[in-house]
Amino acid sequence: MEGDAGELWEARLSAVAIQRDRTAFAELFSHFAPRIKAVMIRGGMAADMAEEIAQEAFVAVWRRASTFDPERASASTWIFAIARNKRIDRLRREARPQPDPEDPAFAPDEPDAADTMMTARERADRVRKAMATLPPDQRDVVMRSYFSEHSHSQIAEDLNAPLGTVKSRMRLAMERLRAALESEHEEGSL
């Protein structure tokens, strides 16, 4: 089900990129903008600023739709990355440095990678599944460190747990995630 929805959003992004389809853009906006706002608020941002970030992200979605590559990232991952960069730009007042695939010094993806590996959407589903297999306390620490600006010691305080416990949960979670993702890479290259 997740995959089908993902396919739908990819099709709409392509319609924006190729036909400059305003209806598809409006549909993307009404689905994703309120979700960007929600994720930004969860990260500790004030509601009005979160709303501005959602709008700025969509200014970039309209402009940069042609750079969306469904082989590289799913639609929601691509939109998340744009919103995240807008948040950083806002916090720093300068553009976040990012690699540019058009740059002649950019090392292109390995040519056989695309056909031997899973699609971006399948990979994203694998990450989601790997997260779901984590024990709740480990998943909680990963999500807190991902979505809030809190340091490990602040997270420990929020959870009323010793810092060492938070660090070891994080370490265990990363080990399990890495194992899950590496088996994904290997299976993909068989």
């Binding site: 639609a75 998340f80 440095p97 690699p99």
Partner: protein
């Protein structure tokens, strides 16, 4: 088959997770972005971690926007944005420095180096709080004075290479060192080594002469 990844020359998962979530500060994310521009396999890993953010968008309970948004006006605003084009690559041959570094500094041949002594030259790229990103140019075979750090140090190699007594690092490699004892990178003998070095705590050099040099290096 993807190429074999030697863990020491690539950022660890926690660093990539922090990069993907947007938690790395200025300087650090420049070093990681330079590595990602040169390393397709870490780009794929970074996207894996970005997909945690994508999943969070999919799962989020939507937070209604207060202001009604006029899509036509939003598109008009988007069409009016002047895109900042990245620095044009130098004519003739591929640039050495990848984006996003080249937009900040120009290419390697554009750098006006300041000598810091002992065959080492530098150029400060940015300073943000206690974090300093600098380019270092180390003459062939020259050893950077032995130093230790209290904080984190990321070194992304742009040309040439160095050997730190245990591992070799070449263009595209990154070394992430945290809370470790002294180390002493030595540039390989065949060419100068140019790298982007990001540090957060003052670097302490051992030995008297390097300590005298330290104020000049602004480290």
């Amino acid at each position: 088959m993807t190429s074999v990844r030697h863990p020491d020359q690539h950022p660890g998962d926690e660093v990539l997770l922090a990069y993907a979530s947007g938690a790395l500060g200025a300087g650090w994310d420049l070093a990681i972005a330079v590595h990602l521009a040169l390393c397709p396999s870490c780009r794929a890993r970074a996207t894996d971690y970005e997909s945690l953010g994508g999943a969070a968008l999919d799962d989020a309970a939507p937070e209604a926007l207060h202001e009604p948004v006029d899509i036509a006006a939003l598109i008009e605003r988007a069409d009016a944005v002047e895109e900042k084009r990245p620095a044009a690559p130098p004519s003739g041959g591929a640039p050495v420095f990848p984006e996003p570094l080249r937009s900040l500094t120009g290419d390697q041949t554009d750098i006006r180096w300041s000598p810091v002594g002992g065959g080492v030259r530098q150029k400060i790229v940015l300073q943000d709080g206690g974090v300093v990103a600098r380019l270092l140019h180390i003459a062939p075979g020259v050893a950077v004075p032995e130093h230790g750090h209290r904080g984190l140090e990321m070194t992304a190699v742009l040309s040439g290479g160095y050997y730190d007594g245990r591992d070799a690092f070449q263009r595209g490699d990154i070394q992430v060192v945290a809370h470790e004892g002294p180390h002493k990178p030595v540039a390989m003998k065949d060419a100068p080594c140019v790298c982007l070095v990001v540090t957060d705590a003052p670097v302490r050099f051992r030995g008297l002469l390097p300590r005298l040099l330290q104020p000049f290096m602004k480290i």
